[in-house]
Amino acid sequence: VANTQQYGRSIYTSGARLKQMYWNDKSVEGEPMFEKVLIANRGEIACRVIKTCRRLGIKTVAVHSEADSMAVHKRMADEAVCIGPAPTSQSYLVMDNILKAVKDTGAQAVHPGYGFLSENTKFAAALADMGVQFIGPNSKAIHAMGDKIESKRIASAAKVNMIPGHDGVVQDAEHCVKLANEIGYPVMVKATAGGGGKGMRIAWNDKECRTAFRLSSQEAASSFGDDRMLIEKFIDNPRHIEIQVLCDKHGNGVWLNERECSIQRRNQKVLEEAPSSFVDPVMRKKMGDQAVQLAKAVGYDSAGTVEFLVDSQKNFYFLEMNTRLQVEHPITEMITGIDIVHQMLRSGKGHELAYKQADVPVDGWALECRVYAEDPYKNFGMPSIGRLTKYIEPLHIPNVRCDSGIQEGSQISIYYDPMICKLVTYGASRTEALNTMVTALDSYVIKGVTHNIPLLRDIITEKTFVAGDITTKYLQKTFPDGFQGKVLSETEKHELTALAAALYAKEQLIARSFKNQSRIPMKTELPTSWKLEVHLNNEDVKLNVTTKDNKFEVQIGERVYKVADTISFSTPLMDIKVDGQSHLIQLTERLGGNRYRIRYHGTVFPISIMDEQVAQLNDYMPEKVTLDTSTVVLAPMPGVLKSVSVSVGDSVAEGQEVAVLEAMKMQNSLVVAKSGKIKKVNYKMGDTVDEGDILVELE
């Protein structure tokens, strides 16, 4: 039980059989283990590794930047070492500082997590020189797989299915165009050192090809310090499915099934599941075997992931191998019962793999939603920053796992990845896992930063997703005009309206609950009914509310909704029964004047409620003029201006780039919405801007 305690809960299967989270985690009784491990990372992954270490009785050392001095991972660890100022280039990426921390604390091994130095061969080599174990594959394997050209050669030799492409580095934009024409459009231009969607672009014609090369190589240079680019055939409408492998130093290897990671935006994963509804046992075995073949071919000796692109005919092509612990590893852990971090530590220590392929089951279904601090209404997610003024993970729900490294009061800063949490749900079937995810997302309280729960909540109930009919193009296809928020059905609209009306009535009653105002006798009789007009989604609904036996009866048209009075303005999450059926809503903001912002089915709806007579008068109120955004270019998120390419008086054409904004290591090209002349340029290159700042104004 000890091992699950750290998540505060256990796993239930449909038969209500109590299971520990790592029910299938194997090791040899009494085998030696590291005594102290340093985690060269931050945030949720550092916390994740620390949890396993704690479970195994291994002492942990955290490293942290000055900005992370109060971070959860720092406080969870037994020891902590500050390794520099906030920017990653001065802290988490500075090898010397981390090596010094290793030396000073006497750690015997270093777990690099993902990102940062996790796939840095120099780091692995430097540790080896110090006699400290790097928890990950040997540096030769990292090197071979980290280089996309080299990895292709090896994979090809190992008889792994390949995508047509150019076998070598692209020299310049023109060379890129030439190669693209040889391979045939569409093509994918990507950095050899890339990963996580950075330094990667798709081109459909020569013009796009040049732009893609320019932007991607710049991004690669700033993100990885390596601007070498690759080009390959781009497979349209593919799925992204990957195989988790686990190997030891003795030449053994097993595959831990697949993960379906097709739901992506800008080539970054948003939602993952294991297993994939598309993969059958035969295909799984074929993919798994090829993945292990490749791993063995490079002498792989830790946990790793082989990524494949899969077309609609179930053909799969090798994409790349990630030589680290993957972000989405928890879903594999949930369906196999294996603690992958533990197994990495074991192979790092030199132990033989404790699993034969037959020991690895597909047990149930797991889903992972990546909850990010970002605005899903802008390009499916533009990073946002802020302080988590209220933060409650839905851990009270059975079969929910939250891998996070933050808590109420934490700051989401511009320096690091904007991920808030990996929300994982588990079920005996996909449907069960999905249903749990719906409740979990609705119960997840996050205030202070904009987050992507509206989008996640919409995806998991969208019919093609529920049917398992997905590709990496899913978001663009499902939301061709960008994500607009939950589209309410007629019934949902009425239920939400009824809930909001009940909230109004409750607020009116509380407003009259004075306890010590008796000098001038108060009018004490409480109102028992209201005639209201509710404004939601640009529609006005007239209704009546009556209080009756601890219920609010809301009459809309002919229909009467009975809303239970479990309304509280003090708890962020309300579970309110409408006609006996439970509804999870969150009152995210009370704006005064009976205007609320209510989160319902993931999306926050602004709702204004008025007495019918007040509403009549409200019709006289003038519309407020809002800023015409077609004549300005606004910063879509906080960041630093990489370049400003126009000056006052310039004529610009619709869609022309006027500035490049770098935020969270991503370069964003900002364009004008219509043709015109530049009236004002408010910022210059290098300036730090806030979300919503007006960068350029048109005449």
Binding site: S69, R512, N516, S568, F569, S570, G593, Y620, M621
Partner: protein
């Protein structure tokens, strides 16, 4: 016809004078002797007619014009602000008595203001609402008399007065009579000050001498885009100083809430303003004889606020938002901020703690490091004095690096103005609870509700630093010309950049975990509810104005 219909609409909506009632009573009178019946009937008709006229104000055309401007009529406003059916009107028949310039031919029952009383969420208040449709809402002797009457009544029973201002100014035809009217109101405003809360909501023009009535009341709110306050309008400004300025720039809501500090808050439109005024009213006691209101509270009084443990950044110069702290501890995270756009380096406003109204004051490290300057001192002082006058406990969050230095401030009289805040806190006898979240430096430490100014409970968070000044400045004086200033600075920080120097002297009562702040404050407020403290008798203090 249309006019009569509207009047009936207004009548039936107000629920007080239902036409039906009048007609019924009228029917019952029929058995009386013929002659006097005739007379009674004609009186009845006259009453009905006058009342109908009074309900219509300046007439249908002008009502429509008012609506076109995006404004409501005087009666619509009153009905919207008060609980439905609670409005009791005074002086609906009162008319002006001016005969100059043929004014006797133009009379409106009730003249250019609607007055009366009613309830807001069950509690009594008196109200006047200037009617722009009658003579542009101009102030006649009659108009003033009506306002004075309800003010006198309000004083008599101890209930607040709310004024809804929408007036072109003095009734020029009446001359000095009108000026006398203003002065009568001013005198009552002053007499009522500190006895009953007085609230002004500017919902249209308010110019000339008229502006001083709102200025004398406790609270001045405005409606964005449709309300203006100025001594003289743009035309006069142009002719006197040759300045080109629009009404909005000169005296619009934005100007007065962010530049001049004349208004305490602005709302989007008439409806929004009146609805939010109702919510604001709920925070206030009815008079200085009443305790701060307590309402049902569902937010646990001892709720922990874990987010506060990390709200103060480790770097002592880094900014954070004090509103996060205030909302963190307040009931349901609700905070009604006063003057949110003016002197943002200090935050003031109302919240509830375990159901009880409290006044919250906090230095805002996010703006100008939270220092006290002239505007912040005056803003804070006025807020503190209101709370003290009306028995509202004060909760103060301190993170202040000191008073803002410089010629600008000195020439502007920071000494005089800073003294106002000091005076206000020192004079206040309501429960005073203080939490030092970080810096409490120099004289500003003393000012911000310190123990020495009769603070009832004073807490320090572990991040608190109480000292005469920051390390750099201090070291350059203590170790003048010293060699190893870095070492000296470190020594100073070690000694003073923590809550101990204050705690060992009893200047703070305890060092508390930030997460427990709500619990501590709620507990203390309960204990301090029976606090009795009086200042020595005096005619009045001589505050440094």
């Amino acid at each position: 016809m249309a006019a009569a219909r509207i009047a009936r609409n207004v009548l039936s909506r107000s629920n007080v004078f239902s036409l039906q009632n009048i007609v019924n009573k009228h029917a019952r009178c029929c058995s009386v002797v013929a002659g006097s019946t005739q007379h009674a009937l004609s009186v009845k008709r006259r009453i009905d007619k006058a009342r109908e006229a009074s309900l219509l104000g300046g007439g249908q055309k002008r009502i429509e014009k008012q609506h076109q401007k995006g404004k409501l009529t005087a009666r619509e406003r009153v009905n919207l602000m008060l609980d439905p059916g609670s409005f009791v009107e005074y002086d609906a028949f009162l008319e002006h008595d001016c005969t100059d310039f043929n004014m006797q031919k133009e009379k409106y029952p009730g003249d250019s203001v609607v007055t009366g009383r009613g309830t807001i969420n069950g509690r009594m208040c008196f109200v006047f609402s200037q009617d722009f449709t009658v003579f542009g809402g101009s102030l006649s002797g009659a108009h003033a008399k009506k306002i004075c009457k309800i003010m006198d009544q309000a004083m008599l029973v101890g209930a607040p007065v709310i004024g809804l201002n929408d007036s072109g100014g003095a009734r020029i035809q009446e001359g000095v009579e009108s000026l006398a009217g203003y002065a009568d109101i001013f005198q009552r405003n002053v007499n009522a000050s500190g006895v009953i809360p007085q609230i002004s909501l500017i919902m249209g023009p308010c110019a000339g001498g008229a502006v001083y009535s709102p200025a004398l009341t406790d609270w001045t709110f405005m409606v964005k885009d449709t309300s203006y306050l100025f001594i003289t309008g743009p035309d006069v400004v142009k002719s006197v100083t040759n300045e080109d300025v629009t009404q909005e720039q000169l005296g619009g809501a934005k100007t007065h809430t962010s530049v001049s500090g004349v208004a305490h808050r602005a709302f989007d439109n008439d409806v929004d303003a009146l609805l939010q005024l109702r919510e604001f009213f709920d925070f206030l006691p009815l008079s200085n004889q009443d305790p701060a209101p307590i309402r049902d509270c569902y937010d646990p009084w001892d709720r922990m606020v874990p987010g506060l443990d990390t709200v103060v950044p480790l770097e002592s110069t880094a900014a954070y938002d004090i509103i996060d702290v205030i909302q963190g501890v307040a009931d349901d995270s609700q905070f009604f901020e006063i003057m949110p756009s003016y002197a943002k380096n200090i935050v003031t406003g109302f919240a509830r703690m375990n159901g009880r109204t409290v006044g919250m004051v906090g230095n805002q490290p996010k703006v100008a490091a939270g220092c006290l300057d002239i505007n912040a001192s005056v803003k804070g002082a006025r807020f503190v004095r209101f709370c003290d006058a009306f028995n509202i406990p004060l909760v103060t969050f301190v993170d202040v690096p000191g008073f803002l230095p410089g010629t600008n401030q000195e020439y502007g009289g920071i000494i005089r103005h800073g003294a106002k805040l000091l005076f206000a806190y020192a004079e206040a006898t309501v429960p005073k609870i203080t939490v030092i979240t970080r810096k409490a430096y120099g004289g500003a430490y003393d000012v911000m509700s310190s123990k020495h100014l009769r603070g009832d409970t004073n807490y320090a968070w572990p991040t608190a630093e109480v000292a005469v000044m920051g390390a750099k400045g201090a070291v350059s004086i203590i170790f003048r010309g010293g060699k190893d200033q870095a070492k000296n600075e470190a020594e100073y920080i070690e000694k003073f950049a923590n809550p101990f120097p204050a705690a060992v002297r009893g200047f703070v009562d305890d060092i508390i975990e930030p997460r427990t702040t709500r619990k501590q404050i709620c507990q203390d407020l309960d204990v301090l509810a029976s606090k009795r403290l009086e200042n020595p008798w005096k005619k009045h203090a001589n505050m440094p104005l």
